[in-house]
């Protein structure tokens, strides 16, 4: 199984861990993720007015660079932007002509645009994944936190049922962990409000964490670096044992028995050697 891979800026920075663990897991699962040779930040937010064409240049260039092969990303925000930009290119001919003329490329909205969780569900299959698990996370009580960007708007994202999704729970089950369902799993974490209105994000995060804890979760998984940041940094310290927040891929690597901490140290060492020899 071969895919083109769009990392996005956060996965080369604060969310390096999501990339490292996914790469290690993918190779153990026989999934080849080939990073695009040249890429730029997707812009992080999809332009909601259709004349904001400048914001589409980068995602459309990325979509075209996949050359018709399925394009995979890991960050919920990147996937959201790419998927919606693709839908606009399919639907709005005028916007498409302007953007592709400017970029001097041919692109008509073709190719599959996938989040890595969709690859696991639809292409590999969770049954198959469960068979490949080496160290099932037995007894670990894990809640899914979907957030917004993977699910909504569901007509475009087509990721799962926006009100009652199951993909992350099925993923947790495949890892051998115990699924905990919390009612706030599809609520917004406050997104970039943590930058400008931190108090608002503290309120949303408190509800999400409380709801997960009340449901009995000891850990929570996300596919979004900003969700993770908010859940960790806007959480109130109430003296109780905090709910641990993980990228979905960290638990995946653990359940596959991969020594990803060691892998990460090795990757860091390689980067150090590479930059020393420049």
């Amino acid at each position: 199984m071969r895919y083109r891979y769009f990392p996005g800026c956060t996965l080369k920075g604060q969310a390096k861990n999501m990339e490292n663990t996914t790469m290690a897991a993918a190779s153990a699962l026989g999934i080849e993720l080939v990073e695009l040779e040249e890429w730029q930040c997707c812009g992080a937010v999809y332009p909601l007015y259709e004349d904001e064409l400048i914001s589409l240049l980068s995602p459309v260039r990325t979509l075209a660079a996949a050359e018709g092969e399925p394009l995979v990303s890991l960050c919920a925000a990147c996937h959201h932007v790419l998927k919606r930009a693709q839908e606009l290119m399919q639907r709005n001919e005028e916007a498409r002509d302007k953007v592709t003329d400017y970029l001097e490329i041919e692109y008509k909205g073709e190719g599959r645009v996938l989040h890595f969780l969709e690859v696991l569900r639809d292409d590999l299959g969770f049954d198959k994944l469960a068979e490949m698990i080496k160290k099932p996370l037995e007894g670990k009580k894990v809640a899914a936190y979907y957030g917004c960007l993977l699910l909504r708007p569901s007509k475009v994202m087509q990721f799962d049922d926006p009100e009652n999704p199951t993909i992350m729970e099925d993923f947790i089950k495949a890892l051998g962990a115990e699924v905990v369902k919390s009612p706030y799993r599809t609520e917004c974490c406050g997104a970039y409000l943590s930058v400008t209105e931190e108090g608002v994000a503290r309120d949303t995060v408190a509800k999400i964490l409380q709801s997960a804890r009340n449901a009995g979760a000891e850990a929570l998984i996300t596919a979004c670096p900003l969700c993770r940041y908010n859940l960790e940094n806007c959480a109130a310290d109430d003296g109780k044992e905090p709910v641990q927040v993980y990228y979905f891929s960290e638990l995946l690597a653990e359940a596959l028995g991969l020594q990803y901490k060691q892998l990460m140290a090795e990757a860091k060492e390689r980067r150090r050697v590479a930059s020393d020899s420049k």
Binding site: G8, C9, T10, G13, Q14, A15, C41, G43, A44, V45, P47, L48, Y49, E50, D51, E52, S55, C75, A77, C148, L151, R152, P153, S154, P162, E163, E187, C188, G190, A191, Y192, L193, S194, V195, T196, E197, G199, V200, D203, T204, K207, C224, P225, L226, R228, Y229, N233
Partner: protein, 132 residues
């Protein structure tokens, strides 16, 4: 207060650029019930639409609500009229930002500690939402 919908550039642009017509809203307020951040808003989401229906552009430009909206798309997921309120909020933000003097937020507003810890995604999306 200027309560006239006629010739409102905001509304005309909104219809063209977001495909949303505020007139389609029947004010059931399901969007406001769904919104996770109403506590910090001065107008509830359905009231923003009511103001749009009435053409109260200036009042909307001075409201906090569009800047509190996190574009989480929950309102749109629940609206029985299939309206995308997140796009309309964006329209109100853009009318302010496109005047060019209205930038709400820049790098100078960040503390060194925030710059150290925030994921790149937060910075890019924050600048995109609050700046032109």
């Amino acid at each position: 207060m200027t309560a006239s919908n006629e010739g409102s550039r905001l509304i005309d642009e909104m219809k063209a650029q977001s495909g949303q017509d505020p007139a389609d809203c029947y004010q059931c307020a399901k969007c406001s019930a769904a919104c996770p951040v109403t506590a910090a808003m001065d107008l509830l989401p359905h009231q923003v639409i009511r103001y749009l229906q009435m053409g109260l552009e200036e009042e909307l430009s001075n409201s906090k609500t569009p800047w509190i909206c996190a574009s989480c798309f929950t309102c749109a997921a629940r609206c029985p009229r299939d309206l995308d309120l997140a796009r309309m909020m964006e329209g109100v933000r853009l009318t302010v930002l496109r005047k060019r003097e209205g930038n709400k937020f820049g790098p100078a507003d960040l503390t060194p500690e925030q710059l150290e810890k925030l994921p790149q995604q937060a910075l890019v999306s924050g600048f995109r939402k609050y700046n032109k």
